[in-house]
């Protein structure tokens, strides 16, 4: 087990900067998820930790050792790839054993390690098959097995579940989490799926355009997103954003004229965020605004209400627990709980 320390890590391809200085200390045994939209540099960052990409600037240390110049095989890491990257001509056993064989472990030691990993991952019956004869989920497990048998300091995952169907993805997600807790190995996991990120992570790094927008516990990011980007990225359905401005007294007024129980520096342009699950229907007399309902989705466990704030106003999403009997075309009186409002500077996108 080891810590992983990223200090001012940058990466450029032929002068094109794609990672702009990332600082983060990943604790021993911690499960850190790097999340962000496509092309934001998640894979690049992970591959720099793996040693598959050269580090342009800054340092990466695994444990106490700076690994900038260390070959991937000597970094004591194991990586699980999105397309599994299993050797097609080797059996499951050989796939898992290959790295150990090269390292010169004895036959018995290899057998013992592979058997143990196979037992953990329920691969015992598949050891003599080739990858071609396995389902996607089984291949995924073999790829994990290949990482486990190495008993590395750090696991690296690059979107390991994105080739699986939705149901299997949920199941494997739970398995990965359980496995990591059992082994206690420091893990860095890349995904663009925010649900995966929220459920797996001890801590999240939200990456946007090569910049770490926020690093923190999933709930922290949910409750206090540091920027508009994080607010929009974390949580599903995504947070509602409404344009507003702070008046002379600092009170925030929405574009439609609704006055909110929140303050911001006087005269500033504000984006107000509120999550669909935090909007509440109010009594007609206490309503701060009205939602013009366009469409209602009954999902059973909850109800998603689509509408606009006022006639022809900005789009707004409302999520209610359980089955709510609301018809499209109605006007729904709404309240904005002050403690659930997120205010962002409209110019910089930063939290106020």
């Amino acid at each position: 087990m080891a810590t992983v320390t990223l200090s001012a890590v940058t990466k450029s391809y032929a002068g094109n900067a794609v990672i702009h200085g990332i600082d983060c200390v990943i604790e021993d045994g911690e499960f850190v998820v790097i999340v962000g939209p496509s092309g934001c540099g998640k894979s690049t960052l992970l591959r720099m930790v793996a040693g598959l990409e050269a580090i342009t600037g800054g340092t990466i240390a695994i444990g106490d050792r700076v690994v900038n110049q260390v070959e991937p095989k000597d970094r004591d890491i194991a990586m699980v790839f999105q397309n599994y990257a299993l050797y097609p001509h080797m059996t499951v056993f050989q796939n898992m054993a290959y790295g150990l064989k090269i390292r010169g472990l004895s036959r018995d030691a290899i057998r013992a390690r592979v058997d143990k990993a196979a037992e953990i991952l329920q691969l015992g019956a598949l050891l003599e098959r080739t990858p071609r004869q396995l389902s996607g989920g089984q291949r995924q497990r073999v790829a994990m097995g290949r990482a486990i048998v190495r008993e590395p300091q750090v696991f690296l995952f690059d979107e390991p579940l994105s080739n699986l169907d939705a149901k299997l993805r949920v199941q494997m997600r739970v398995e990965i989490k359980r496995l990591q807790q059992r082994l206690g190995t420091t893990s860095i996991y890349v995904t663009h799926d925010q649900t995966e990120a929220m459920t797996l992570a001890d801590r999240l790094i939200v990456l946007n355009g090569g910049i770490a927008e926020q690093i923190g516990r999933p709930i922290e990011l949910y409750e206090r997103p540091a920027s508009l980007f994080v607010a929009g990225f974390i949580g599903s359905p995504a947070m509602n954003f409404l344009d507003g401005a702070a008046g002379d007294d600092g009170r925030v007024v929405l574009a439609g004229g609704t006055v909110l129980a929140a303050t911001a520096p006087a005269g500033s342009g504000v984006t107000v965020g509120i999550r669909p699950e935090h909007l509440v229907p109010a009594a007609e007399s206490e309503a701060a605004a009205h939602l013009h309902v366009d469409m209602v989705e009954l999902l059973g466990a909850d109800t998603i209400v689509y509408g606009t704030l006022g006639e022809g106003g900005p789009a707004l999403l409302l999520r209610l627990a359980g089955i709510a009997q609301i018809a499209a075309g109605t006007r729904l009186p709404l309240g904005f709980p002050p403690e659930q409002l997120h205010l962002f500077d409209r110019a910089t996108g930063k939290r106020l």
Binding site: L52, I77, F81, A85, Y87, H89, I102, R146
Partner: protein, 281 residues
């Protein structure tokens, strides 16, 4: 695409049988001729039923020294052909595998120059560069040697390109996984690349073996003594201008010249089928 149910199912069969007869008949006649005596063949109404001299003719061809070949028996020519064909096939495979490996997986100065130089040789078949090649071979003292027969034909752009295309289809992640597993370049070559290429190698072997075995112009040039020449060249030498050509032996030699390539194709065919059924991913 299956229309077996219809009453037209005999049509494809008929076409196949006709095609087979067209290709197979001359070979059959050659075989029949190889079981007769020369007067029987030249009698003007040669029978299409094999004669009674099969064992006798083939034994004679294989073991007896031929006067037309300065007393060298055909067995020796077959050995020469075999050595040449195997050297060319294996040599080409080795060289092109390694050069494709270097071009695809390594970044070195002049990589693309190397690639284009190999590619350019495609434009220059053996016949075009035969005079300078002969000059070089002669200067190296390789006339009448197996080296002289095989080495100049070994460099192969076609096979290099074939391997290059195949190597390019190998996903980067697989290469990276091998790197993380600690496999160096040679281990990767041996443990991953070679096993993945085996169906390609088998297919190429067949093509190159037949190519090497059927060479005519180059062996004709580069060998002077009859004991170093190949079977294909030997057959031509048997055809003398006077009326003394031993046709029964020529026919037997023709059949003998066809047998090894046919055997290679038949044996390796199982590999192709395996390769098709087994195709990875």
């Amino acid at each position: 695409m299956e229309s077996r149910s219809g009453h037209l199912s005999w049509l494809p069969h008929l076409i196949l049988v006709l095609g087979l007869a067209l290709v197979g008949f001359p070979i059959y006649v050659t075989f029949v001729g190889s079981t007769m005596t020369t007067p029987e063949i030249l009698s003007g109404h040669m029978s299409l039923i094999p004669g009674g001299h099969f064992v006798e003719n083939y034994l004679a061809a294989l073991t007896q020294g031929m006067p037309q070949l300065s007393g060298v028996p055909v067995a020796r020519l077959m050995l020469n052909s075999l050595i040449m064909a195997l050297s060319i096939a294996l040599g080409k495979m080795l060289i092109s595998f390694l050069s494709a490996y270097a071009i695809v997986f390594f970044r070195f100065p002049g990589r693309m120059v190397c690639f284009w130089m190999i590619f350019l040789t495609l434009m220059l078949p053996v016949e075009v560069r035969i005079v300078p090649t002969f000059q070089v071979t002669a200067n190296l003292g390789l006339i009448d040697t197996y080296g002289g027969l095989a080495i100049p034909l070994i460099a192969s752009a076609t096979a290099t390109l074939l391997f290059r295309q195949f190597f390019l289809t190998i996903p980067d992640e697989l290469i990276e996984a091998a790197r993380l597993d600690g496999a160096g370049p040679l281990r990767f070559l041996w443990d991953v690349l070679l096993p993945l290429s085996r169906t390609n190698l088998a297919a190429l072997f067949v093509i190159l073996f037949v190519y090497g075995w059927n060479q005519y112009l180059w062996p004709l040039l580069v060998t002077n003594t009859a004991s170093m020449t190949t079977l294909v060249v030997g057959i031509k030498s048997m055809l003398t201008v006077d009326a003394n050509t031993p046709w029964h032996l020529v026919m037997a030699m023709a059949i003998l010249a066809m047998a090894p390539p046919a055997a290679v194709v038949l044996l390796m065919q199982r590999w192709f089928v395996k390769g098709l059924v087994d195709a990875e991913k």
